[in-house]
Amino acid sequence: MKNKYSIFSLFKNALSYHENWQKAWRDPEPKKEYEAIIIGGGGHGLATAFYLAKKHDMKNIAVVEKGWIGGGNTGRNTTIIRSNYLWDASAGLYDHALKIWEGLSQELNYNVMFSQRGVMNLAHNLQDVRDLKRRTHANRLNGIDAVWLNTEQVKKFCPIINTSPDIRYPVLGGTLQRRAGTARHDAVAWGYARGADEMGVDIIQNCEVKGIKRRGDGIEGIETTKGFIKSKKIGVVTAGHSSVIAGMVDLRLPLESKPLQALVSEPVKPIIDTVVMSNAVHAYVSQSDKGELVIGAGTDAYISYTQRGSHDVVEGTLKAILELYPIFSRMKMLRQWGGIVDICPDASPIISKTHIKGLYFNCGWGTGGFKATPGSGDLFAHTIANDEPHKLNADFNINRFVSGDLVDEHGAAAVAH
């Protein structure tokens, strides 16, 4: 039984210099067999295990992770959470996640520092204005809060933005989702890991999957660096490495893996209390609780698994940032990194069964998976437990690339993917 985190436990542990905190999760050796195995110990994988145990009563499950939990894209994103997507299918999916975010800290007894500081998307040309207004209407029809702001209202909401008509891409307005915001990404992985572990889920770190053993039309288990582990149900949540795992069973996926970069500045006093994204110039910025500016850059155009990214992509983003926020001109950038994102041709994810019985894939989140973490885990757990998709992820199946029923969020979503 885990000790509950509270003001009293904080006080009690302060008396012993915080040296006697209970471990948040165990470090078990893999058992011989599990009811289900989740490959990938990022936010989505851990959330899947958590909801399998909590809502579907599957306790004998394992999460196997090549490195350490939350060390991949979960710890590399810019932590933005929003649900203002254009199409009904996406709106349903992302708003389902946003609703779980709103109660997540209480559900996990773990402070994920979810902060509904609002996300503003800027328009820089007439087409942007039309697209963003259309999206606001679509959002409201789907019950998602969204408002259109004109240039003066943008300036009022975020005074440091340069709204001069003389800049190369002037701000013609923007949309605002007030329920959107940010969360502490590491805490999401740790909170889900702690919660899943408490219900008996084995989280096995430093355990790389080397192969998937098939039997008949199903699955027998996985070959790992810690030996063979039996299981008839495997959920794959490996983001940029989804094609690598799919290659083990000759499954074809429509994914391309590319480095997506982010960077943070030196910490400064509070200067921007919201998240501002700009599709046309591809720059988005927010400020972390530590005071760093968190800046999201774009993806490289070529396939790569290097977790680095090109310098010219960062340069392009920072040029746009400087034009929009001249006040940042003397800020120093502290750290830059890349994460490998798996991008679908329609910029929508795959949460799906496959033609192999007992093998499920949750991938293709591309550049925007963090916001969906709780919803993705919940719906993927439902899909694995019932061997049938939930109605919210039914449209996000692999077969849509054969049938042509794409969920085309390229350009339709609030930011370029």
Binding site: P254, Y302, Y305, R308, D312, D342, F401
Partner: protein, 91 residues
């Protein structure tokens, strides 16, 4: 970020080039006779290799010519550059 040895112009910065994705995907000769599965395969399904991948590049800010490359996607090292129509290196 890396340097690419364009077969026409010589070594240039990668930012001068556009990536064209996986190479040697043959356009169907009889598009009208393709099944949905075959279309999906041609249009969408990709190997997305972690390791040496054969891919197309275009020297967009240079000679604007297309060519092929064998590049290791796990470390961005380029093993070979070859012109369109040429066979990929054997290893």
């Amino acid at each position: 970020m890396f340097l690419i040895n364009c077969p026409y112009c010589g070594e240039r910065d990668q930012s001068e080039f556009s990536a064209g994705g996986e190479a040697h995907i043959v356009r169907p000769k009889q598009p009208t006779e393709l099944s949905d599965d075959q279309w999906a395969e041609f249009l969408f399904m990709r190997k997305n290799i972690k390791g040496v991948q054969l891919e197309r590049w275009n020297h967009a800010h240079g000679c604007r010519k297309w060519f092929n490359m064998a590049r290791d996607t796990s470390n961005d090292k380029i093993h070979a550059v070859y012109k369109m129509g040429e066979k990929p290196p054997s290893k």
